[in-house]
């Protein structure tokens, strides 16, 4: 897919539209805080009449028709992760994307499931 390269006048200069213009002045997300690897998916709802979506948000919503992560989405759209994080949080608030639950695990929600780690280990060794 063709990327919107016209926003750039060379990497050193940065985007002509500053990141905080894209996020309408917000520098940190409110509500749901999406992690780099949170799995998000479009809910399939249509935006209400009073919801205005930016071009970037429409693009992210389109990409979320297949489950994806903010890291992947930032890479794919060439937008900085922090910007993507805020835009996705908006989409979540509008009910347009939701978090796909991952398998529940043990007492430590801040640690990955050891059973999944064991599976990964098996496959890593065969790499």
């Amino acid at each position: 897919m063709e990327k919107p390269r016209e926003r750039w006048i060379g990497r050193d200069a940065g985007p002509i539209v500053r990141p905080y213009a894209v996020t309408r002045g917000r520098t940190r997300p409110r509500g749901l805080v999406v992690d780099l690897v949170t799995i998000l998916v479009a809910t399939g709802r249509t935006p209400g009449d009073r919801v205005w979506l930016s071009r970037e948000q429409r693009r992210l919503l389109e990409l979320c028709r297949r489950p994806s992560t903010p890291a992947d989405l930032a890479s794919e759209t060439d937008l900085p992760f922090r910007v993507v994080q805020i835009l996705l949080e908006d989409l979540h608030q509008y009910g347009l994307v939701e978090e796909m639950p991952q398998a529940e695990h043990g007492e430590r929600p801040d640690r990955p499931d050891p059973r999944i780690l064991m599976r990964v280990l098996d496959e890593l060794r065969r790499l």
């Binding site: 937008l79 900085p80 992760f81 922090r82 009910g95 430590r108 780690l117």
Partner: protein, 201 residues
Amino acid sequence: MNSAASDSAPAPHAFDDDVPQHTLKILVAGGFGVGKTTLVGSVSEIRPLRTEEVLTDASAGVDDLHGVERKTTTTVAMDFGRLTFSGGVRLYLFGTPGQERFWFMWDQIAYGAVGAIVLVDTRRLSTSFASIDFFEQREIPFVVAANVFDGARGYTVDEIRDALDVDPHVPVMLCDVRRRETARDVLVALVEHAVQSSSPV
């Protein structure tokens, strides 16, 4: 969980291997030029990822900002790699710069992560002390991998362990980040270490 979205249809991709079901993160920490990008590229599909860093006074005099005085933010490129396993399991690698002013990113990556790879250059071991402290303090499992550069004097794993003063249970290993097998061995060592760390004592 989210009542506003509860009326949505079930995800059509639920059992598709190509769709992420479980995501895991690994942080690759190391100073400039130590080989983070090469390591990530050796074991995974590497992709561009930018984040936006706010320049603060702390970086004045550190960064060469000549000619960009009016720039208030700077773009940081993270090394971003992805490995896909069966059952929709995806392992993401994030390589971030080692300086303290990037630690806000480390915190973000480290939360819920499998653990970290501290990539060290044996010619500049002292530059790794701060990253080792960072993971020790947060009880994040980590391994130390010394990238063996051409022409660097050979150190043994024990010498490196002594010099860095890491706990005996922390794996320390040598690797050549350009070689897929040794880079993979580092990942294996970290995941093994993480499994052990998560087992009940």
